[in-house]
Amino acid sequence: MGVVQLRGNEKQTKSSSSASSLILRIVLLAVFDVFAVWFIMRAFTNEAFLLVFFMGVIALLFNVVFLRESFYPVRWMSVGYMFMILFVIYPILFTIFIAFTNFGDGHLLTQDQAITQLQKELYLPEEGEAFGWTAFRTEGGDYALWLIDANGDPFLAKPGEPLVPGVAGENGVGELDSNNIPDSIDGYSKLNTLLAASDENLPNILFGEEGATIQVRSPSEAAQLKPLYAYDAESDTLTDQETGRVFTAVQGTYTSIDGQELIPGFRANVGFENFTRFFTSSSLRGPLVRIIIWNFAFATLSVLTTFAMGLVVALIYNDPDFPFKKLIRTLLLIPYTIPPLITIIIWRGMMNPELGVINNFLQAAIGFSPPWLNDAGWARLAILIVNLWLGYPYFMLITSGALQSIPKDIYSAAEVDGASAWQQFWKITLPLLLVSVGPLLVASFTFNFNNFGLIFLFIAGGPPIAGASTRAGHTDILISYVYNLAFAGGRGADYGLASAITIVIFIIVGTITLFQFRYTQMWEEVGENV
């Protein structure tokens, strides 16, 4: 039957593309291609090569899919795939790529950019071409330098401006004396030797234009600054011209033999270094073990509590004749209708240890005010309570629907056999329920495993774990720890390690998801359905 359908379907697919729809298709495709070419050219001039690449791939796929009849079904999803490639697949590939690099603070540049930046660093050579100098100063504290080179030729130098030959009458230069030094420069007054030598600013001022700056080296000499590092492309080393130290590139940082490192470093492939650090680094292990344990506990407990409460509520009101049934359900649904961000912030306010309503009430009622935000255990409990509030209405809805689908005669049969209500629940209701709700429990687990919004908005991972080498808190789960590593700053962003952890998380939740399908036979259903 299925095979016959399949064949018939294909034939009809072909016949369904009439002449007019063919023309329309070709015209639209041509318009798209014109746009794509224009876009790629613009992207190319902007040096946005990633966009060039992705737009190219997308344009190619579009043309293949819309011209070849055998790709007819894919046409229906082409736009969706375009957005998926751009904003889902590419970012995932990006994360995977970053996981194998040292990308992060101090390693943000490419190697070329880092070398260029290092080559901008200058030093004042102790020897080499020198000028005799005379300093001038304005009332406002601007300086100018009158230089005389080895040949006796004079120059006028001001900060940030190119050197000009010193000629009397030009640039406000007055008459030159016998030493080729002017008596005055318009707006400037000459500093005598003593004043110049004792001037604190003068040795720090860079005269002349950038790249060829001149600095005062001694009371008698000024000299042009030279690049501190000489780059040798062949051996990929930088040599410090002042000390003679040689720096070689080691995992994204130019390092000398005695361990000195040059800043900035650059992005480099570090292989599995980030993963090794994740699993073995002793400074990370302390907080990480705690975070992982709490992560699993949090996700498991969240699912169990929300499911249990949702189920109990659904069971209690699973009675068509129950009075006010609709009203009760509507009121119980309210938590589900409020955007989580708002809910979480409201609870944060209510659980404020000094000012919140819950603590005021508890203080008055039992004389104890739980330190929800400052103590690790209480903070965890608070998070579970908030998540329970957020999550149970969903399971109430789902389970009350699923309960309806359990055939009633099973219960009648059980009653005849003398099963108590308790037995009926454990032996009939729960197992049958789990068959249909099971996948949603797993989905809820994977969602909560990465429930960044809750942890971040409610408590930002706090209270902090004392003595952790990176920023980590007692309620941090892996994904909020990743956020700390990558964006929160403090001790410097480490995108490489953060990406590596992201991939570890993906492997964990991905495996769980795949397992689920294995046991619920969802894949088979996909294949055989209809």
Partner: protein
Amino acid sequence: MSSSAIDTTPQKQDGGFFDKLRNSKSFRYRVSVGIRLIIALFLIFFSVFPVIWVFSASINPIATLAGQTLIPENASFANYTELFSSEVFPYWRWFWNSIKIASISTVLSLSITTLAAYAFSRFRFQGRTNMLKVILLIQVFPGLLAIVAVFLMISDLGDIIPFFGLDTHAGLILVYMGGAMGINIWLMKGFFDTIPRAIDESAMVDGASHWQIFTRLLLPLMRPILIVIGILSFIGTYGDFILARVLLKSTEQYTLMVGLQIFTAGQFAQKWGQFSAGALIGALPIMIIYLSLQDYIVGGLTTGAVKG
């Protein structure tokens, strides 16, 4: 009475008058309903209290967290007027931004999802199951770091077409479209699968094209699931703050969630009353949609669940 099926009151074996009473069906039923009503009151209290509390805060002229009492003295709408007239927090602007972005995203992503789900349900082609698997597996990838890549891409895109750049709503909507090929495809495909193919086939015999079958025959039948997925996706977009916060920079462009989150940074306890007013109004659209269409949503969610 189906109550006997899921009777949670434990059965005891006593003797005498009370035993008789207990074993009388109508009496037991009334007691159980009474107990359940009391439980319901507690549950409702748990569920509704934060909302009442926030409402009370919003009409309390003492706008701080510390000064709040359940029934405020001198209740007034001062917090509301203050919030709506604030120059620093363009509340209605944020509100409008959120509604606009969520509506456009919902319509667009619903179109993408429905088209793809139709193909997944009605055609048999190579790689079909694998595509469905990949779509689902991708959903569990933690996208937090991927935001860096999205940010860079939108920034590059804005250099070419400024309309879609950083700090634009169009750019943000574009990124939301990336999620259109997601878990909703499964839900929607499941619903398509429940519509008998005999309907399509008879139409095909009459010479209808796939496009005609899709738009004229199946879409009207899909109305319930379209409403459910539409609402879910509206809620998701409306409530998002991570992507919006990364991509939108200027106060004018913020969505409500970003605005409210920024609002609470800093001296949170001092602005409690205003935050409450803003949060309550912000939650209202979804609450209204949800509660008025709850039968639809419950139906849609549970069919999805029961189908597994």
